[in-house]
């Protein structure tokens, strides 16, 4: 029996490893953002390097998953859904890495009045991402729980939207945020980048809802 299901076991492990990388990516992003906001740039660059390495690792795993799903004709009925989910999840990870990269390259100066809110936005986005990964795991193991998971993803995405909205208003409306329009637009873009994490997570979650319906008998 173990020999018979060896390939299946390998694939299960590979998918789990891939999802682990995405969770780690979220944690690294949160840490990186915190160090940037605290002004500890050395620690920030460390996290950026880590997340870069993690991203390329996860890309390798993802490609292996994709090719093996096809060559071994595994889960023929759900293959399209699974591949779609994995590819879009990869995008979420990419956005976290990209957001840190933008901070590193463009080095926007974050006004004190915005720091706590941005930290909060980062945390909520990562929570949203974590919930997404939990839901993806549920899709594989316990499809009945997917609905709860997607509800939570949706909730955190809305929360992130609200926080981002507040930050953007503050950037343009609050007198404490000084500087010309180009600076404000720059800050807004940084916030939009972070906000993008939960938006993309929501897209994956929508796919998951449909895939889960298809999976229930």
């Amino acid at each position: 029996m173990p020999l018979l299901f060896r390939k299946t076991q390998e694939m299960e492990t590979m998918i789990d490893e891939y999802l682990d990388r995405v969770v780690q990516g979220g944690l690294l992003f949160k840490e990186g953002l915190r160090y940037y906001l605290d002004g500890d740039l050395a620690a920030f660059e460390d996290r950026l390097a880590d997340i870069d390495a993690l991203e390329s690792e996860s890309d390798t795993i993802r490609r292996r998953i994709e090719s093996q799903l096809y060559t071994q004709t595994l889960i023929p009925e759900s293959r399209g859904d699974v591949l779609g989910i994995i590819e879009h999840t990869d995008e979420v990870l990419n956005i976290t890495a990209e957001t840190l990269m933008v901070l590193s390259v463009e080095s926007p100066e974050i006004p004190e009045a915005l720091r706590q809110m941005i930290r909060e936005l980062g945390e909520v986005s990562v929570t949203c991402m974590d919930e997404l990964i939990t839901t993806i795991r549920a899709y594989f193991r316990d499809v009945e729980r997917v609905r709860d998971g997607t509800t939570r993803v949706l909730f955190y995405e809305k929360e992130a939207d609200k926080i981002a909205d507040r930050i953007k208003r503050k950037i343009f409306k609050d007198d404490s945020i000084t500087g010309d329009l180009s600076r404000k637009l720059h800050l807004r873009d940084c916030v939009a980048n972070i906000e993008n994490i939960s938006d993309t997570a929501e897209e994956v979650s929508d796919r998951l809802s449909i895939a889960a319906i298809k999976r229930t008998m």
Binding site: L4, F5, K7, T8, M11, E12, I15, T73, L74, I75, P76, E77, S78, V82, Y139, F140, R141, D142, E144, K214, R215, M217
Partner: protein, 499 residues
Amino acid sequence: MIWFFLLSGLFLGWSLGANDAANIFGTAVATRMVKFRLAALIAAVFVVLGAVISGAGATETLGHLGAVNAIAGSFTVALAAGLAVTWMTRLGMTVSTTQAIVGAIVGWNLFSGTPTDLSSLSTIVASWVVSPILAGAIAAILYFLTKLFLAKVNIHLLREDAYNRLALIVIGAFGAYSLGANNIANVMGVFVPATPFNSLHFGKLLMISGKQQLFLFGALAIGVGIYTYSHRVIKTVGNDLFKLTPVTAFIVVFSESLVLFLFASNTLHFWLLNHGLPAPPLIPLSSSQAVVGAILGLAVAKGARGIRFRVLGRIAASWVTVPIIAGVLSLLLLFFMKNLFEQQVVADTRYHLSEKVLTHLRQDGLPVDDLRSLNGESFSHPRELRQALRRTGQFDEMQMLAIFDAARVDTLGRDTVRVDESRLTAAQYRALARLQGRRYLYRWQLGEALARLTPAWEPKQADTPLKQQRRQELLSLVYRVSRVPPGNRSVNSHQEVAP
């Protein structure tokens, strides 16, 4: 020549393989869970095993319906069935070789004048109606059980996929075995009374009977059908009929296979009877209709409203139209075969109505007064006897059948001791040995003589169905072994010898 005559049976087998294998592996192949090559290999191997090992039960029932006793007749009957199936399939009917062969056999009965066993016929037709319903009920139950099970165990999607794949292969093999066991009767059943093969012995342990050799050839034809043509049918079954997921595909195939097995397995049949449970009769069914039944059952269980009543209507229509078309075709072809090609499609059979036959019939509760005028008369063809019976009295089909059975002259008694001793009790064998060399004109005489000698051969009311069936089988064996071939019958052999 014999091989030429078998061709029509092989053609029927081929079309069975091409059409019905799709019902077993169609969904698995169409959902890409199992590769076609693997599916075809498994299907072919297990169809052969099922046919050779368990094919006898359903064949017996078809034999009761009508024993086509000349090989040219068997050829024509199988050809009529094959043509009917091909024709109806082209018209898009959900047909089965079963309905066609039953119609064709009844056609032969009509042509030859042999009475049709109406109780067998009604059992067969009732089973056609019951089998899709049963498959649907099983599918619905399996659906709920599987759903409950999957919700409880929470298996990883990939693992579920792997288990499902394995299950589809195992259940597919079981389905192919059941199909072979249940449907070989359609393909080769009509050739059994006229089988050209003798038993083959491989040492003391393995014996392949003539019937099993016949089944083997039929099953090989089914296998060829699976390899050469079923791929195309699989595509339509898998995609057109109903969108199935791998898990529901498993449920459908399992339900279908169970139903086929229930109606084919001798072992299960007697086990159920002996435990006082109702046992389905051993009857060849249509795997296509079982599949459609299972899918509809699944649809009902899922609460789907979109049940296509037209599909149901088409199935019900095929219960009536296919046998009729095959029957008419069979009649026509038999007529041409006999008159145009001058082939013997009905073997010469002697019937002799003696005082003893009348007494035997009276004991069986038949009104024999009308038969008195025929006392002492002989008939050399079933049609002659039928005409004589029509002239003398009003006999229904079942009474005719009893008269035909009782009056058939067979000349039995050669080498009764040749019956395999290991299958008999000591008392049974001693009785057989005492009858060695004596001659009997009628089958029932030999049976009665044995019953007089020992209670071991005596039919008893209290006997379990298994015992009754065993005794009947042993008696058939004794009849077969001790039958004096027509060429060796001495001029006086029709003089019956009292034991």
